[in-house]
């Protein structure tokens, strides 16, 4: 599997990154006019848009919860987001990603403040490289903050992979396809500190030590992404003040 392509050359990865280096990230908050909160994110070649609607009335009615809000999360890949055109509509993979991502957000969103209502999160992958689920979670967090939804903290997500026997942060497509393991993480970050793990999946083979080391690497990467998420929101809301001074 991993024999046919060499992923690590002279201590550098295929795209020239170090083992613990993230791909370039671009985040922009509040890009959709009709959504309550939105975010566009680029993580390497991934391009993702997230939209948040709510809290709003839940339809159909029987899904309403009289004591708290229901959170719905939809991960979807555009047909043109992958190399070979993907049939539109949900498949097993996207249903699973939607479920685990929703479960990452559910304990963080203060659902009990909005009985009988629903919070809908839609993330759309416009262009996919590896790690779309982590990009989507990062985008969804920013969109939730942009929508003004009460939360206990922010969720930041990043993956660690094992390629050619080395742990690498934020894997790209080749490292995901030909590597030995892929471990997406999501953390709850509060007051600039990592509090807990909100999502943890693993696919492949890792030793216990390697998983520990991977967690450490992911934490460091997550902190960097967290700073960018903060920056994106701050930029959106302080730029309004600058605009005002010009008028």
């Amino acid at each position: 599997m991993s024999e046919d392509i060499q992923l690590i050359v002279d201590g550098k990865r295929l795209d020239g990154r170090d083992f613990n280096e993230l791909r370039p990230i671009k985040i922009e908050a509040g890009i959709l006019k009709r959504a309550d909160g939105s975010c566009y994110i680029e993580m390497g070649k991934n391009k993702v848009v997230a939209a948040v609607y709510g809290p709003r009335e839940v339809h159909p009615r029987h899904l309403q919860d009289p004591s708290k809000a229901v959170v719905r999360y939809r991960y979807n890949m555009a047909p043109f987001s992958v190399e070979e055109r993907k049939r539109p509509g949900p498949d097993r993979r996207s249903v699973e990603i939607s479920k685990v991502s929703r479960e990452a957000f559910e304990p963080v969103i203060m659902k009990e403040l909005f009985p009988r209502s629903g919070i809908d999160i839609f993330v759309e992958v416009l262009q996919a490289d590896a790690g779309t689920r982590t990009a989507c979670i990062n985008a969804a967090t920013v969109a939730l903050v942009d929508a003004g939804i009460p939360m206990k903290g922010l969720i930041t997500s990043v993956a660690v992979a094992k390629a050619d026997g080395v742990l690498v942060l934020d894997p790209m497509k080749e490292e995901d396809n030909y590597g030995e393991a892929d471990v997406p993480f999501a953390f709850l970050i509060r007051n600039g500190k990592i509090e807990s793990i909100a999502l943890l999946q693993m696919d492949g083979r890792l030793s216990a030590e390697e998983l520990k080391k991977a967690t450490q690497m992911a934490k460091e990467g997550a902190m960097k992404i967290y700073e960018l998420q903060r920056e994106a929101i701050m930029k959106k809301y302080s730029s309004e003040e600058i605009e005002e001074q010009v008028i």
């Binding site: 009988r116 903050v145 003004g148 939360m151 509060r190 309004e240």
Partner: protein
């Protein structure tokens, strides 16, 4: 008055007694739960939201649209995650006047009297401010900007009323009713949109005064 923007999960205080709107307490520490501006005083700390939906509270004046008529009352859309209910018994009884009945899709000004834990909102129209809206205009803004449109002790809304000589009622849910001379209502509408856009900036009242003066002069020249 330069207030700091905080994000959910940011530590804002270590004194749980201060915790006010937009905060939550965990292990004796106060954290922000929404994005907003920190408003800190000696005795309290709250987060002024920059975004979000309207969450009703008792005593709020709201403008709503009648969406459904049922045997014992009306279901009213109040621009919130929750729909409100106006019982027939809470409808004002205007005797001898035509058009005093509420019809489907009528806009009404009503007051929130009760909210149960299931967030079922109960309205009343037995108040002198409440009425059925049959004329004028309704302007919709972001509900978090409503306090700014009203201003400190109603200064902003007084300004609009006195400078333009129009009638307005601001619903806490972000809907504003304007009535009066059409051109003046136009100016008021524009002014409200400016306030909405620049709600978190300083010296806004002065700029709005200037804006209204300028627009009024322009209007006179055109005549």
């Amino acid at each position: 008055m330069n207030r700091k923007i905080v994000l959910p999960g940011d530590l804002v205080s270590t004194n749980p007694k201060l915790a006010g709107y937009g905060t939550f307490v965990e292990n004796g520490k106060v954290y922000a739960k929404i994005m907003g501006l920190v408003d800190r005083s000696e005795t309290s700390l709250r987060i002024i939201p920059l975004k979000g939906r309207y969450i009703p509270s008792n005593g709020d004046v709201v403008i709503g649209v009648v969406r459904e008529i049922v045997s014992n009352g009306y279901n009213v859309d109040i621009n919130s995650p929750y729909s409100a209910f106006l019982p027939s018994t809470e409808k004002p009884e205007i005797k001898g006047r035509r058009n005093s009945d509420i019809e489907l899709d009528d806009a009404i000004i009503a007051k929130v009297v009760a909210i149960d834990p299931k967030m079922k909102v109960l309205l009343t129209m037995k108040d002198k401010i409440c009425r059925i809206i049959r004329f004028g205009r309704i302007v919709a803004i972001n509900p978090t900007r409503v306090p700014r449109v009203i201003g400190k002790k109603g200064s902003m809304i007084k300004l609009l009323k006195s400078e333009l000589g129009i009638q307005t009622i601001v619903g806490q849910n972000g809907l504003i009713w304007l009535s009066g001379d059409r051109r003046k209502v136009d100016i008021a509408e524009e002014a409200i949109y400016i306030i909405e856009r620049e709600a978190h900036t300083e010296g806004l009242t002065d700029r709005i005064t200037e804006f209204i003066k300028k627009r009024k002069e322009e209007g006179l020249e055109n005549e």
